[in-house]
Point group: C2
Amino acid sequence: MEKLKFDANGLITAVVQDDAEGEVLMVAWMNAKAIRLTKETGEAHFWSRSREEIWRKGSTSGNVMKVVKLLVDCDQDTILVQVNPSGPACHTGEVSCFFQELRD
Amino acid sequence: MEKLKFDANGLITAVVQDDAEGEVLMVAWMNAKAIRLTKETGEAHFWSRSREEIWRKGSTSGNVMKVVKLLVDCDQDTILVQVNPSGPACHTGEVSCFFQELRD
C-alpha cells in the first residue's frame, strides 16, 4: 500500500461500483485503516469525515457491501471498490447516491 | 448549479463513466467553469490541478468525451459524468485509469 497517494488528511477518494450491474453507487473516503479493514473483512469500510471515525458501510442499515475487487488508478490517488451490495447504497433508499440529474 | 458543494479550492470531484459499457474510466476535478463548458459544449472539461487550468479532455490526445448525462450525488459534492469516449481515457493508453489491482 506504500505507493498510494493519500491527501494531507491521510485520505484517498474511493469510488464504489456495483460489480455486477456496473452502476456507480457512491463516492466516499478511505484512510489506511479503512483499506486494511476492507481487505481483512472483505466488506467495504470508509472514513467518515463528518463523524471522524471508521465507518463500516451497512453497520446501521444492514446494507453491507461485499468487496469483489479493489483497483487503483494510474496516479495512485483514487481507489475503485467493486462490490456486491446487500441493498441500497444511499441513505435515501435509492440504489445509488447518483439519482439526480445535474440541473442549471 | 447553486446547490453544488465545491471544496475550499472551488473544486468538486468528478467520476467519469463509460455510458454504454458502465466502466469507470477516471476521476478528475471540475470547477464551476469546467461544469459550464461541459454543459455548453457537450464535451467533458475538467480543472487540471497540476497545470492549474481548464482541461478539455482529449485536446491533446484527440480522445474527447461526449457527455451523455451529468448526475450529482445525494449530498451534492460529487458529479458523475457519463460519457461516450472517443478512445482510451488513460494517458497510458489503457481504456480506464483503473487498470491495476490494489496490492499490499
